[in-house]
């Protein structure tokens, strides 16, 4: 049985509380990442970061359509998806700055955020790897009859790697309860996706190869994304198999912190900045009669939460060096010999 998704993306059936929750979620992602970037430039955050500024509507639209127990699989550009599932900012920031209390003890860093208790089953830094892994999780839900759904986010560049093909085919054959979400932010790292891809829509134009329908959604419209999420997640939960969604969006910054993104035409950047998902949702809420004060209150709360996370991060001690050799094995240690 196939689902008619032609009415997806109209924003129909979204109530006020949910709209506000989506707005708050996007703001949490945005404000957290903006501050993270500043802390990076100030030298507090080490290593690298890959920001999803501009792409928050995809994370917020899907996370608000998922149930507790559903699984998120995302990429190294995974701060948004992690926060959107309700992982608190403080342990995430502690992970980025490498201090005690960090989400994964400082062993993973920005590219590997994971919080199993929130259903965030990992941020994967080798392009494409998590698509087959999400299929396996979906198989597990199917086998155990738990009605859990795996939602797997990846970039446009992933559609050109072999694991994409293997995972989509296997998921379709097994009717696995997984929703694949391509965040087409127009660039694979530094290169425009259209210049290295044989089709116009890197994900949607490939869907028919797996017997799936092409699904495209405005990735900068959180309510449209939410609607698409609800329909595809419901379909998976009902046992009607996987979906492949292409959410068209834009990475407002460069690929990683080392990249100012100067290769992007000014006109293109300006056009997409004008379509920033967060002011758009704010205006929609005002138009729907939400009071300016209510929105300002949300903004103040999110700002305070980011400030609190930063305060804790600045005061937290470094990890114990002895923890560098823990948790290789299930016994908590790293011993390999007698």
């Amino acid at each position: 049985m196939s689902t008619d998704l032609t009415d997806a993306g109209t924003g129909a059936g979204v109530d006020r509380d949910l709209r506000l929750r989506m707005y708050r979620t996007m703001l949490e992602c945005r404000m957290f990442e903006q501050r993270t970037h500043e802390l990076f430039l100030a030298g507090l955050v080490r290593g690298t970061t890959h920001l999803g500024i501009g792409q928050e509507a995809v994370a917020a639209g899907f996370a608000t359509a998922m149930r507790d127990g559903d699984w998120t699989f995302c990429t190294y550009r995974g701060h948004n998806h992690t926060l959107a599932r309700g992982v608190p900012m403080t342990p995430v920031l502690l992970e980025l700055v490498g201090k005690q209390g960090a989400l994964m003890g400082g062993k993973g860093g920005s590219m590997h955020l994971t919080s199993v208790e929130h259903g965030v089953m990992g941020s994967y830094a080798i392009v494409g790897a998590h698509l087959p892994i999400a299929v396996g999780a979906a198989w597990s839900a199917q086998y155990r009859g738990t009605e859990q759904v795996a939602v797997c986010f990846f970039g446009d560049g992933t559609t050109n790697i072999g694991a994409f093909h293997e995972a989509l085919n296997m998921a379709a054959v097994w009717k696995a309860p997984v929703v694949f979400v391509c965040e087409n932010n127009q660039y694979m790292e530094y290169t425009p996706i259209r210049s290295v891809t044989a089709v116009e829509r890197p994900a949607a134009d490939r869907a028919s190869a797996y017997g799936l329908e092409p699904l495209v959604v405005d990735g900068n419209d959180v309510e449209s994304v939410h609607e698409m999420a609800r329909l595809t997640i419901d379909r998976a939960r009902r046992g009607d198999g996987p979906s492949l969604v292409e959410a068209v969006t834009y990475r407002q910054g460069g690929h990683s912190r080392a990249d100012p993104g100067t290769y992007r035409p000014d006109e293109e950047v300006r056009a997409w900045l004008a379509r920033d998902p967060i002011p758009a949702q704010r205006q929609r809420l005002l138009d729907a009669g939400v009071a300016e004060d209510d929105l300002a209150a949300i903004e103040a709360e999110v700002k305070a939460a980011v400030a609190e996370a930063e305060r804790v991060a600045r005061e937290a001690p470094d990890p114990e060096p002895s923890t560098a050799t823990t948790q290789v094995w299930a016994d908590g240690g790293a011993e390999w010999r007698s």
């Binding site: 396996g136 948790q327 094995w329």
Partner: protein, 328 residues
Amino acid sequence: MAELTYRQAVARGIAQEMERDDMVVLLGEDIAAAGGVFKTTEGLLATFGPERVRDTPISEQAIIGAAMGAAMTGLRPVAELMFSDFFGVAWDMVANQIAKTRYMTDGQVALPLVIRTANGGGLRFGAQHSQSIENWAMAIPGLKVVAPSTPHDMVGLMAAAIRDPDPVIVCEHKALFADKADVADGEIVEELGRARVVREGSDATVVALAAMVPRALAAAEQLAAGGGPSLEVIDLRTLVPLDVSTVLQSVEKTTRLFTVEENPRLCGWGAEVVSIVAEEAIWSLDGPVVRITTPHVPLAANPVLEDAQMPSTERIVKTVQRTMDAAR
């Protein structure tokens, strides 16, 4: 007690664990309806059904990736890579994902999974279907590596691998599939990380693995029959965890050490064993330590060439004899 081939022992070990734990599931190419290209999973589909025994497309990344996703969400998958050479296709999943995820998540994610694979040479399959890859796996922190040499050990170590809370690679040696031995009835579970002294001796320790174990044993018998040195033969059975204690105890007794390794020379498991003995038991040694390995070349398809490459019983005998004679 029943006579069992090494090949049948694979299915028996898996079936034993599938009987006791519904969360054990199988996936791989041709493993269900066809019973495996080496007939190592024959009968499992009929006994446990298609929900638990799944044929996959030729998609090694998806097979191993799906095993990982299933393991992190409550199943205990046993994935087959038809030939160990195919680890090359799925190496991101094995080395970057499965091996590192527990560590990177500081223990949040458990990966109780097994990757079974037909490993090793001697079947004239050529360089891409004959390799001994156990030392590839051994080089990556976070993977356990098992390579049984007998039907009994195949049952017991397979069971131990499936019960283990960490990822385990089980190397099934292609040249041993037809080997037969009596195997006890009832549940068999061995322990990972325990070597076995398979022949006691007094003059030299020979450490071997998988198909090299019967060759080392045959060499020991030939030497004994000819009045040569008395060899103690150790079957390592598991490379990670590595049973160093059994090797050190033996070397302290015999004062000499040889390794017999099917893998190409560089970075073979024997190099690690030898380095540990050099660090911890150098004063027990009365002569040079010698590694008997395949030369550092790809394996050839031609029987004459392949036989010239892999350590043979004859080469073990000659190498031991020459080394021991030179020391007198």
